[in-house]
């Protein structure tokens, strides 16, 4: 089957036409540079995103602590991760880089704080 993608590497935003068979890329058309082709492969075969959000903090000098998945996680896991985080409240103090949720949604990726929060 064919799938349309927009390349994200530059403002040109080439329309890529990707031929996919059994989840694997067979051919890429429409790209004007090699980066477009590479993008099509990764976006079709292993689409991944870094998820960033913020969580409520107890006793902190910030009301919320911002956080991210330490590495890109499979795109289809985003919803599950957001769902998981519904009940997470974090206790201050928090170090930047501190693991808030280990191996989130079995992705082998940790959710880490991206801000320092002091205890008040």
């Amino acid at each position: 089957m064919f799938k349309q993608l927009t390349c994200i590497n530059c403002p040109l935003g080439c329309s890529l036409e990707v031929l996919i068979e059994q989840g694997k890329v067979c051919s890429v058309k429409g790209n004007t540079c090699p980066r477009g082709k590479a993008y099509a492969y990764s976006e079709i075969e292993h689409p991944a995103r870094i998820v960033t959000t913020s969580l409520p903090v107890v006793d902190g000098d910030w009301r919320m602590v911002s956080c991210k998945t330490k590495a890109p996680i499979p795109k289809e896991k985003i919803g599950e991760i957001m769902e998981l985080l519904q009940d997470v409240i974090v206790q201050a103090p928090i170090q930047i880089g501190e693991i808030l949720v280990e191996n989130i949604a079995n992705t082998n990726v940790d959710l880490v704080a991206t801000r320092e929060v002091h205890k008040i």
């Binding site: 913020s54 009301r63 919320m64 801000r115």
Partner: protein
């Protein structure tokens, strides 16, 4: 009256980088004045990733990027004052500011302006309709969601496809809101392609190009919005109106440098950038006042803000230490073709030593074009560009040796 060698107004990315570089270059008697309760400026609420690729070669979130600079400020023991807002500056470089300690005045030998920018509000766009609650600029919503922890609405329409609007479309979706549409009056988005894909397409949020809001419904709280297609003059086309029920409207329609202080200091201003006119040392028309970052011109990436601010910090240090000579010997750089403006807009031919980094934006999308530099009417260099777009800043470097002939004109043409 108290004196300081250098005052830096603003503790966001520009102010931080400028202060660090000034300190590294030998200015010890300096102070950062920040109006918010913490350093880092708007980066604090930009919790998404994508910052720092140019500077640190890794993808950081806003708070992480800010932390790298705040740590350096602390390592260098650079003093700063929080919750402190500058009320006025005069052309004698007297800086009057207010805090819970009272109103104070410091006479500064040099000043770096790094106040950043603000969002263009709905009112400035003359969007008709009611004025109920639920109308926010995208950055205000970003603060409410990311820092305060509140969702301002559940059914959202966004006007403007600038990056903040796109980022907020994803952010509110992730927190349970439904974003029904993003409308953009121009035929192209000013946001990054990556954000179009990862903030809109990932979540099946439609982007309507050449559309605007023609009416806001709901007297007390937003109840809906009417979108319409626009013609080539950006005027709504009758009969194309379509109503969307929503409780929230976000505006992401451009940023304006916060230059009210610059006007008081009687700086010469550029009507296009809405920032000060600066030379290659980023010095304004008032001796010893420098400007950098979004207060000078709105940048696309914070990395470039930091780079520009570092130069301002270095040059301010030279000024303070007496190494930056006063000059009358300038050649101006003029935008030509689709180049909208250039920063800096003049180069000191006598005292300047370094190559000159020129930053600018184009007025419309150019495919397979080029940036060409003309010196005294003669084409010196051509930088081919596969694509140039108004949403992205262009950067080129002018070699100092090209200027050895003491030229009387420089043009930067984008076609």
């Amino acid at each position: 009256m108290e004196h300081k060698q250098l005052l830096i107004i603003g503790g966001g990315p520009a102010g931080l980088a400028a202060a660090i570089e000034a300190k590294k270059n030998g200015v010890d008697d300096l102070l950062i004045l920040e109006r918010d309760a913490c350093l880092g400026g708007i980066l604090n609420q930009c919790i998404h990733n994508g910052f720092g690729l140019h500077t640190f070669h890794e993808e950081l979130t806003g708070p992480e990027y800010a932390k790298r600079y705040i740590d350096q400020v602390n390592e260098h023991s650079i003093p700063y004052r929080l919750n402190t807002m500058v009320l006025s500056i005069d052309d004698q470089k007297n800086v009057r500011f207010i805090s819970e300690q009272g109103i104070e005045v410091i006479q500064a030998q040099a000043i770096i302006l790094a106040m950043g920018c603000r969002e263009r509000p709905r009112g400035a766009l003359n969007i008709p309709g009611f004025r109920g609650a639920g109308i926010y600029s995208a950055g205000t919503a970003q603060k409410l969601v990311n820092l305060d922890g509140f969702l301002p609405g559940k059914d959202v329409v966004i006007l403007g496809s600038g990056d903040i609007g796109l980022i907020m479309a994803r952010r509110m979706t992730l927190e349970g809101a439904k974003v029904h549409a993003v409308a953009e009056i121009m035929p192209y988005s000013s946001g990054l392609k990556r954000n179009i894909v990862q903030c809109l397409e990932d979540y099946h949020i439609p982007l309507f190009l050449e559309h605007t809001i023609v009416k806001i419904l709901g007297k007390d709280r937003v109840e809906g919005v009417v979108l319409a297609k626009v013609d080539q003059d950006r005027k709504p086309i009758l009969g194309t109106e379509k109503e969307y029920a929503c409780d929230t409207i976000l505006f992401s329609c451009g940023l304006i440098p916060e230059n009210e202080l610059s006007a008081q200091a009687k700086l010469e201003m550029d009507p296009i950038t809405k920032g000060a006119i600066v030379s290659d040392s980023l010095q304004t028309s008032v001796d010893g006042i420098f400007a950098c970052g979004n207060v000078l011109h709105v940048h696309d990436l914070v990395d470039f803000v930091s780079q520009e601010a570092s130069l301002a910090g270095k040059k301010a240090a030279e000024y303070v230490l007496g190494d930056l000579k006063k000059s009358q010997d300038f050649v101006s750089i003029e935008p030509k073709g689709k180049t909208r403006y250039v920063i800096p807009s003049k180069i000191d031919l006598k005292n300047g030593k370094e190559d000159v980094v020129v930053r600018f934006r184009v007025g419309s999308v150019i495919q397979d074009g080029a940036i060409q530099v003309y010196i005294d009417g003669k084409k010196i260099v051509r930088f081919p560009r596969r694509i140039m777009a108004p949403g992205e800043m262009e950067t080129i470097t002018l070699k100092r040796e090209w200027l050895s002939s003491n030229p009387s004109s420089i043009w930067i043409e984008s076609e």
